[in-house]
Amino acid sequence: MATTESQLDDQEPGAAEGGSVDEEVETRVGWRYTLAKVKRDATARIGLYIVAFVIFIAAFAAIDSNLSRLTFDTMSDYTAAQAIPFFDHPTRIPPPGEAHPNEPPVFVDGGSLSHPLGTDPQGRDYFTRIIYGSQVSVSVGLASTAIGLIGGTIIGSIAGYYGGWIDDLLMRSVETVYAIPPLVLIIVFTVFISGGSPDIQYAVIGVGIAFIPVFARIIRSRVLSVREMDYIEAARAAGVKDRNIIRRHVIPNSFAPVMVYATLQIGVTILIVAGLSFLGYGAQPPTPDWGEMLRIAHGRYMHSNIWLSIWPGLAILVTIMGFNLFGDGLQDALDPRIEN
């Protein structure tokens, strides 16, 4: 697929949004400069804030969750655990009497401030579950993007640096993976590898693997252009080992555009994992995952309690939007041609 490949190369962030990042400029652009530029752009700034906020919440929920776990060890300690002022427990189903299943949000008749987004059919505080959902989404997004990034970097840099049949072999294999719709590939992977009991960790690996191709492709095309640069020639002439050349020169030089792509990719990943959970192949109950919450909400409560469908969707939307805005901002900052 010669032509396909060259088209796929165009898929790198610059091209997808119009033209590749100017070589000479990019290599000289530092991170400090990029961040300064992102900060100057209002939309990118909003993106940065959303991303920071969601990550903060996720980290916060992680701490909170550990606290709860520690304190929930025995029944008698349970009351103490309730003293945690921030959130309810995300998965604990309130015992009889305490539970008010399917309570509407606070601004609707019958809602109360103690459950600002209402409760789920089990009587759990929906706000808590939404907040904890960020933890799952963000960690899944980061982890699987990291897998894709690392895998893609290894494959892409080897393919690009050595060229020839190694390049052919690696890139053809990678294209093959790309040809299967990611969602389908990930489900097949998740279900088969997990032996029919899918869970979020398999999904993370599956998503990571499914996105190796895109990263491999970007890295490779960067490597191809960096490879020809004089100082690489010089390093090679000076007898520096290939591995070291790749590690010290080629990869750092390809870093900036890849990071842009990775940022945008986190959004895509969260979207895919949400779909996966929605079909029941991602996070499993009672994990407070947005996709999983939507699955339950859609399956049984779409009509009786539409709020259950609305909140997780909005949470996904805002989170992904944050990553997209931030990624766009990074990209604009790195590409002088798309300048307002």
Binding site: Q7, G18, V188
Partner: protein
């Protein structure tokens, strides 16, 4: 190279990819725990003899590479295997289910193209004006929203609350009206469209948003091209410049992206078909996974991969058609 020869050449190039897909799915399916024969018997008590008979019938007693070889020889003859669970040839199921999926995906694309291109052009033309900002926000929301959630919201609003559009299923235009219980072709096709609208929007929004973003940047770039400046300098009206001079070359990346996004769209069809109860390949896939119907899962993966490859070839060909610089075979 002529168009036909180019097409054949490109399709031949796709063969290694298809072989690759078959290896991936085959390996995945056979690494999996669980025994297809046991599954087929669905928990019924079966003696060893019966299991062996079934294994023999489906060639499951052979070593892996022999099974792969058998599978591939079957594949060459258009035999995608046999769905143990459904007791039907996989290729029959595929033929049956490909129609709805294609109908859905193509109409989603149509929706995406028809809305994204004019909006993208307007945004590019009125860059940094309110129109541009609004369309950018719309595009941003579009790329950030899960298709299935859009589907759910659309059903709640349009099918349930307003009751103006159907919430599930499709009406197939290729069927005679009687099969769907319609009196006339007019009614039949009206129903086809009514049923398509919501799933089409749910699946098409992401594509629309992506295309709109690309269209906008491409048009902005294109409007800065020297030849556009030249056209302006020669008194070509702005409208002609937008519609002709800047437009055509700006579409080239769009075509590429349409082709490549086919993969996302086919994946999205799995979700949208589930939400809208559409009997396409996507839903069949979900069912096959639930039933761990190995042959069917492999068949679906192969067919989806094949659809993607064909889609890319088609876009390649139209690319070559629109961009005179691309000769069939290689670029200058």
């Amino acid at each position: 190279m002529g168009l036909l020869r180019y097409t054949i050449y490109r399709l031949l190039q796709a063969i290694p990819v298809l072989i690759g897909i078959s290896i991936i799915t085959f390996v995945l399916a056979n690494l999996a725990p669980g025994d297809p024969v046991r599954l087929m018997l669905q928990g019924q008590q079966a003696d060893e003899e019966l299991i062996r008979t079934i294994e023999q019938r489906y060639g499951l007693d052979q070593p892996l590479h022999v099974r792969y070889w058998n599978y591939m020889t079957g594949l060459v003859q258009g035999d995608l295997g046999y769905s143990i669970h459904r007791r039907r040839p996989v290729s029959d199921l595929m033929l049956e289910r490909a129609g709805p999926t294609l109908l859905l995906v193509l109409s989603a694309y149509l929706f995406a193209i028809v809305t994204a291109i004019p909006l993208g052009i307007i945004a590019a033309k009125r860059r940094n004006e309110p129109t541009d900002h609004i369309s950018r926000i719309v595009a941003l929301i579009g790329v950030s929203t899960p298709s299935f959630w859009i589907g759910i919201m659309l059903i709640i609003v349009f099918a349930v609350r307003l009751g103006v559009l159907p919430s599930a299923g499709l009406v197939y235009p290729w069927q005679p009206p009687e099969a769907a219980g319609h009196g006339s072709y007019l009614e039949h096709w009206t129903e086809t469209i009514r049923h398509l609208i919501l799933p089409m929007i749910a699946l098409g929004t992401l594509q629309m948003a992506t295309l709109m973003r690309v269209e906008r940047t491409q048009m902005i770039e294109s409007l800065q091209e020297e030849y556009v400046k030249l056209a302006r300098a020669y008194g070509v009206p702005e409208r002609t410049i937008l519609r002709k001079h800047a437009f055509r070359s700006a579409q080239l990346p769009i075509i590429t992206i349409i082709g490549l996004n086919l993969s996302t769209a086919l994946g999205g069809a799995v979700l949208v078909e589930t939400v809208f109860a559409i009997n396409g390949i996507g839903r069949l896939f979900v069912e096959a996974i639930q039933q761990l119907d190995y042959q069917l899962i492999m068949g679906i993966t192969m067919v989806l991969g094949f659809m993607f490859v064909v889609g890319v070839v088609i876009t390649d060909i139209s690319y070559a058609y629109i961009d005179p610089r691309v000769t069939y075979g290689e670029r200058e």
